[in-house]
Structures are given as C-alpha cells and as structure tokens.
Symmetry: C2
Subunit: 335 residues, 2 copies
C-alpha cells in the first residue's frame, strides 16, 4: 500500500514541504485497527522502544532493590535534552548501582536542548556521557547488571546478559525476532532491530493494556507508565512534544519519539497501540501526525481541553526570529 | 512528472529513510538540459538567492565606494554559522556604512554552528543579530541603502527602495515575476518569492556565465563569484557543505544552500545552472544529490581529486558518539 501524506509545512499560503509516511494502529492481540501505508515493512524503532527495554529493570525487582524513584524510571525510558535534572538523575541512578560516569558506554554529546547546552558552556564545562540523550537507558542497563552481579562492562553488546534480557523483552512485546539478521547500530552504540511498524504498534498496545504480556511484564509496564506520567519532564524535556503531551494527558496516553521520524503511543483506555514512521526521517512530521491521529482516535474520550492541546500540536504556527508568523507545520490535508 | 528518489540514509544494511525531490539543470537561455521531477512547480528559493540579491550592491558601485573586501562580499551571499569571523565581518560591513548593530532587522539567534554557540556561551555573552546566519545579506542591504542616501530603516520590507532593487535583480536573473502573489516571509523577515525550480536554475546558469544578463549584472556576478571563491569560509563555515565544495573547486563551481532542502549551483565552464528541492525540506538530501549530480554533469571536466571530493560528499559514512560506523547518507540508487 502506498504511503500517505502525513504533514506539511506552509509559507506564504503555499505548501513548502510535504512529508509522507505510514501509520499502524493495532490492538494488543495483533489485530490491525487502522493501516495507512506499508505497515508490514520493517523499520528501525530507535528510541521509541526505550520503555520496553526498561521492563526487565522493573520486572526482575532490580529497580525496587536499588530504590529507583519514579524520576529515575522515567529517565530510563527517555531521550532527554541533557538539562540539569536529566544529568543529575542519570548520575543518581549510577550512584544507586555503586557506579560512576565512566561506566556509561553511550558516548558524550552536548545537550540536545540548546538552552541547556549554552548554560553548560557558560559554566566552562564540557558535556559528559550523562548529557547523552540516552544516558537514562544506559544507566538502567547498568543497574540491571549490578543487581544481577554481572560485570556491566560491555552491556551495550548483543552478547551481554543484560542486553540479552532487554532484547528478550522486545521479542515478547512485539512477537517478532530480534537477531543478527535485522540488527543495526544506534547512535548510542546499542543495537536497534528492524521490525514491522505493525509489530511495534502491537507492542505499545500491550504496554498500555498489559494484556498479552506476561504478568511480570504487565505490572512492570504499569509501573513505568505511571512513573513517566508522574514526571513527564524526565522522558524528553523543556519544549518537547512527548513531555508536552504527557504533561497534559498523564496516564491516559504514553508516547515516545525515536530518531529518523518514528513515534509510538499507547492508549490504554482504547486498548490500542500506535506506531508512525515518516519516510524521510523527519520527526516534526511524526509529531503532528500523531497529534492529528490522537484527535481522531480518541474523539469520544477527550474533553474540550484535551482536544485543544492536541489541535495545537497538530497545527503549529511557525514564527521567525522577529516573532513574525511565517507559516505553519500541520497535519497534511487538514488545511 | 513524478519526483524522484534523491538520497537515502542506511543503517544495518537497510534503507532507514528516503528523500524524494526534483532537479532542474538549465542553460543561460532558459533551455532545459535535465529535468527530474516537477521543475515547473514553484518553490521558495529561500537563502539560495542571496548572491543574486547582492548583485545591486556591486553593480551600483556601492561596494567599491564603501571599500567592501572580498570577505565582506562573500558574507553578503552567506548563510553563515555565526563563527567569530562571520560576526566580525558583518560588523565591519556595518561600520563601513557608518552604521551599528541596531540597524540590522534580521533578529538575533545563537550561532547555527554548535561549537561557535558553545564558545560564545562560554564567554558569558548572548548572541546578537550579527550571529544571525543572514547578517551579511542584511548588512549588504544596509550598505546599499546608505550609499544611495536612503534611510535603511525598513530595508526588509517590499516597499523599501533598496529591497525593490534587490527584488528587481531576482526578476532579471530568473525572468519570472516577484510580487505579492508569490510572496512569503523568510526566517530573517525578508520576503522570499515562490518561483519555478527551472527559473531558479536558469538564474544560476546566468550567474555563472554572465550571458543573458545585463553587462552590469554580468560583471557584478563575476566579482561575487570570485569573492566567494577566494574566501569560501564566509559563505557557510566550518564543516559545511557549501564551504567544503567551494574550498576545493574555487571559481569552477558556485553553490548555495537554502532552508527546507533547496540547493543551487553554477557551473560556468559548462554554461549550466542547477536547482534542487527536496519534497520534505531535508537539506542533507539536497547536498548529497547535488554532489552526485555534479559528479555526473562534469564527468569530462573533473580530475581524480575533484571526483574524490564529490564522491565523498555524495556518499557519507555516518558515525555515532563513540565513533562507530552506523550507516551512510548517500545519493539514492547508487548503493
């Protein structure tokens, strides 16, 4: 099936750029509820699956034994902007595991949130691996390793026992194989596995409902959703789509972005999971497409404020450096 | 005609993202040499036309009377990264016009080159309009205004005499109307006019050869091309495609990026102009598509080193934060 127009950028009353992609809406049994475009074609989920990768941390009891707080569990699911609380929370996860910064194998980069990068630079400091947007996920694998008396070194490699356990969680959630035949390497040096968009959506339907999950997975998923809902700043940060959406909807919607234009969402009340991939890898398009889809899917659920929040995210006015309106970023065909 | 696949991003041996778009190759008479996709459809050229907007600054004699150096003329054509030399050169243009920073109407933003932003933040300073990537273009309009004893205030507005003159240069170069019917507002608050991709390419064929230009435009174009070739850092900056390409090719290729995935090039030796627009607005794709096109168009012109430079830009290895190879960004279908 052909991919569809997801989002467009307008200027001067004309469409300046147009993004195509695919949308899968599935229930937790793996039934297709809505399919727009080639939903069986494999895509790399990238950071969208961080919450699934965090399931063993909770399910094994490691999180409780190490005393991880909600903020820390939310950070384990995060692609954060490297703001001060993000870096401090990653450090506290490592401290609870009795480890330090050098244990992180994600590499260092400047905070992706520009204001945080400028504030860090103003102190004369350089970024560390704590500022890497994936530091919470990595700290989570280190916690999982330490709790099982495993040497955390090499936790990013497919052969490491902790990595094997988090990969197994992906297999259980999505019901598709994750092995060397569909493996790619992510920006933070952990594997990412190409799977059908439909399977990714099914995984997040299950993450939302807890059905067709093991009972351990189901309670771990509920705990993680609750942690993220209680501190949505931790999962992304200032001005970011995921944080904005969950700050309003709380436990009613879980969503997570991934690099190269991937978005997932769980809608527990509807028993649905969503996965979106833009063909060109643009995250701006996946975001507005998700907001527009949620408006539609939850038509009977949302109150006026809910609809206003979603409509604002699905149709964004773009302003220039002088604050003058130059155009819009909006769901395609909703002009 | 359908748009074509221009560039792809690969990971783990699979295509992760794919960019479509259009390519127009024209000669200076407006004859189509190569058309891939809908080249008659209007697009916003954005910053690609800065060198055309600088023609009146040179042609009227303003640049000579004010004593503008090559670096300053190159900056007038630039979308720069806000590095120290860029900001200093914008300030020196203003000083030669007897004006100061407050005269700039582009708005302030942090340097787009991250290292320059971090270095600026480390000094405790905030960015000014000098760091705006368009500050050289704006300083050029201020110089043009002052030289003609015009009040520069409002030089960004279509009704200002200096703005009228630079818009007239666009009309002469591209042979298509620029008025309120195709006007949009750019990020720096100057107008940008939607014109066919083919007309944009024709304009840059003329910019390269000087033919089908007035003699004044022709000599101004030659002067600007020479200025950019002598100091290609000024037109973009560290690590940027335009600078890298022109640092190698000098006066043999002029190229310029524009926001939302536009690229133009002049090939004086072949008498050709090129314009590329990605449908989705991705600049990474326009860059690799231009490199691949230049490899092909200039097959009989380039020496081995030329081909090596272009091939490296048309097929870029992507590495992660640990320096490990994760995939490629490359021209589509050249895998």
């Amino acid at each position: 099936m052909d991919d569809i127009a997801l989002a467009e950028v307008t200027r001067g009353g004309r469409v300046e750029s147009l993004h195509h992609g695919r949308i899968a809406v599935m229930d937790d049994t793996g039934r297709v509820v809505r399919a727009l475009g080639a939903i069986d074609k494999p895509i790399f989920p990238r950071s969208t699956v961080k919450a699934l990768l965090a399931l063993p941390l909770v399910e094994t009891g490691a999180a409780d034994r190490l005393g991880l707080a909600d903020a820390e569990l939310a950070l384990a699911c995060a692609s954060h902007g490297g703001e001060i609380r993000h870096a401090e929370t990653a450090a506290s996860m490592l401290a609870k595991a009795g480890q330090g910064l050098t244990c992180l194998e994600c590499g260092a980069h400047w905070p992706t949130y520009d204001a945080a990068a400028h504030a860090l630079a103003a102190t004369g400091a350089q970024p560390t691996a704590l500022h890497n947007n994936c530091s919470g996920k990595h700290a989570g694998l280190i916690c999982l390793s330490i709790d099982q008396s495993l040497d955390p070194a090499g936790y990013i490699d497919p052969g490491h026992e902790a990595q094997r356990q988090v990969t197994e969680a992906l297999v259980m959630a999505t019901s598709v194989p994750h092995n060397e035949t569909n493996r790619g390497l992510d920006g933070c040096s952990m594997p990412t596995y190409a799977i059908p968009l439909a399977a990714l959506a099914t995984g997040f339907a299950r993450f939302g409902t807890g059905r067709n999950f093991s009972s351990g997975h189901a309670s771990a998923a509920a705990r993680l959703r609750s942690a993220v809902a209680s501190d949505p700043f931790m999962v992304a940060g200032s001005g970011r789509f995921d944080t904005t959406l969950m700050a309003h909807f709380g436990n009613r919607i879980f969503c997570k972005m991934g690099a190269e234009g991937v978005m997932v969402a769980s809608l527990p009340d509807l028993g649905l999971g969503v996965a979106i991939k833009t063909d060109d890898g643009a995250n701006r398009a996946a975001e507005v497409a998700l907001a527009a889809l949620l408006l539609d899917l939850g038509a009977l659920l949302w109150n006026d404020t809910d609809r206003e929040v979603l409509a604002g995210l699905a149709h964004q006015v773009m302003k220039n450096w002088n604050g003058r309106e130059v155009g819009t970023l909006r769901a395609a065909g909703k002009g």
